[in-house]
Symmetry: C4
């Protein structure tokens, strides 16, 4: 069932490791199949060295295991919630990459301080509000998805494929599993650059809207002129 997607999801999980975003098993990536409306996700707590495509777990949109002998990632309900809330996305990635975690632990939005950020994210990457006691004690992982969705009430998740969950760390998404991973790499890089920028100039803030628009839309949307084909993401 969904063997090709399992391969893609395995590749994307291994890419997390290759890009240096995860220590041990501290990350998980999923991909969605539109035809069956099921998702494929990494099993919980299995080391990257041992993972095989057949270990990937198929889960339905109620978060129930549809196929697979291993337990899915404990963050599965967050992934499910994101697919439900953001129907346009095809992959989700979660890491504990350290600079993104630092902004999340700081409870701070990541402003768009330069063109590297603007090339990929259309504005400030939001940090969610902290979850409340009741939200943590029951349905914690699903509620993590809920507070993310709340932070996106006025944002387009296709133009802002990343979030910082306060006190926790980043989630990113994209057109498929690997695209979600690429956005995790970009988020870590821009989170690092943002912290270093503030180290040099504590007053550094967002770039002007016209520069943000220029960079974001030269790579995304119908007017894009970056890359070899219009609409191609970096």
């Amino acid at each position: 069932m969904l063997e090709k997607l399992k391969e893609e999801v395995l590749e994307a999980n291994l890419a997390l490791h290759r890009y240096g975003l995860v220590v041990f098993t501290w990350g998980n990536v999923s991909g969605r199949d539109r035809d069956t409306d099921k998702l494929v996700i990494k099993p919980s707590g299995v080391s990257y060295d041992e993972m095989k495509a057949e270990d990937m777990v198929v889960v339905d949109m109620d978060g129930k295991v549809a196929e697979g002998s291993l337990r899915p990632s404990s963050d599965t309900p967050t992934h499910v919630e994101l697919y439900r809330r953001f129907p346009g996305i095809g992959g989700v990635a979660h890491t504990h990459s350290p600079w993104a975690v630092a902004w999340a632990q700081a409870g701070a939005d990541l402003p768009c301080m330069g063109t590297t950020h603007a090339d990929h994210f259309n504005g400030t990457v939001p940090c969610t509000r902290p979850l409340r006691r009741a939200e943590v004690e029951a349905d914690y992982e699903q509620n993590t998805g809920t507070v993310i969705a709340e932070a996106f009430a006025e944002l387009d998740p296709l133009q802002m494929p990343a979030v910082l969950v306060a006190q926790h760390g980043p989630f990113t998404w994209g057109s498929d599993a690997m695209d979600a991973v690429i956005n995790s790499v970009v988020l870590e890089e821009t989170a690092k650059m943002g912290a270093w920028t503030r180290q040099i100039n504590a007053a550094a803030g967002s770039i002007p809207q016209y520069l943000l628009d220029k960079h974001f839309f030269r790579k995304h949307g119908s007017e894009a002129y970056y890359g070899q084909e219009a609409k191609r993401r970096s």
Copy 2:
């Protein structure tokens, strides 16, 4: 004598190097054998490139060499003291990994600023008090174990498998030698994240108790639901 444990302890010492936690010979790991109540530890000042399982030194719970032609790590009395004080542990690791050292040199406890930390350590990682002159001048290495135990007067070493020795650096422990090393990796990562969090937000502090409980106990104890088996550590 204890050939299997020697292999495990060698592997754990090499893992210190592989995880980038040590420069030269600046680290040591030991494992305890419950049947004979002896410990196996790295020899002093031998390079990781040359170490073999047969070089590992067997020491009894009075710190005397029971087998081995090489001198044991000069930190052996600290390891012995920790096994005596914390009967539930099976492995001890000591490194000079730089972020953990920085917190230790700063004389600062490492607060639980986020879920990465909460997944592994049940609360603030304590920093010991500095040793006094008399404690340094006689039985220094044993007294290092003593001040660690003092810092744990009201802490459960099985839920807090790490400490920062003031002016010095980290010790960690676990169910066996490799588990102790894993906790050294986690401590370095969370020490780094904590410093970076404070760099972004100097007022960042501990997460709420309910979020700490949620993360710690979803991975540890009878209610754990992370990983493929209950009670499995990450």
Copy 3:
């Protein structure tokens, strides 16, 4: 056409990656052929793994493609502008290397704080003024070259082969494509050292002119005595 230069430009682009200056396709290098007054540049958005010499694009000094089936880097008009303004240069490199980006995003000139910097750059590396709205909205990439040239009104680009474009990142140049890349490496290293110096001593500033002169001119110009041949750049 210009097959040898294409090989050099490919090598220089791959060197960006090897030196750890770029993530994904976030960089581009070009080289100039003096006989034909054409430049060879990396294609846009092609991954470093797949790039071949024959993919390099030949562009004339009006920025028009003279040979090649792929679209040239979207930053091509900036490269063209730099070759026009700085007739002595033979290669240009652009990266988003993180420390140089941090200074650029901070909007700060990089002072010459020590001899590492003085060995390569004759003084403060300038940060441009931000581009104005009109400069961004029309001919953005060419105007990036214009504001760089403006910052060099009183500087010799052969003695200062680097610039920080405000809100964006670094451009460097040199005698050929690889020399431009070497200057990108040096800029990243000195940008890092400068930030770390300020972290230790917030008041640290430029070294005296006589020390700058000593270091710069022992490696450059007719009195150079560093290396195996006079006038050889490091």
Copy 4:
């Protein structure tokens, strides 16, 4: 002439690269032959990839080339001056490793903030005074050695095998060329730890003298009990 020493000096120069202390050719190591009172040093500006033992240059204690077809490192007069001033040493290393450079550019002594430092350096690593104009303009490299010696008026170079040259960077020395390199590695690591310690606690200072003595003398001198042989350095 001195073929064995040339091999050792080559190995030590390559080790600078392997330990990640140098970029391009930004470092040099020499070794001294006591019988002939000559030193062997890296040639100037030759890349580490291409260097062979036979390229090493033999220089006498007046700084004149005694053998070798290549020009010796431009820092040779500093090495010569150090061997003259510190008769007990057998090797000298100079790098631009970034954390040590940052302290040097900051013009700051590196205090002994913890046991990692105390294991290797007996106290604060001194930063020299800046060279004066006249000292830079004539015999600059020799005068660099002179200001180092001045900083050691009351220090034992065998117990403090490292210095930070203000506005420039580190020099280290040791019993032979490789020992000097090891001290460069240690200096970079402790310089990094010191900066990170101050980042966490801006008031962090030196450890007490009794802890410094304990750590330094458990590894050095007649009472040493670290390692497998008395008097063995780390």
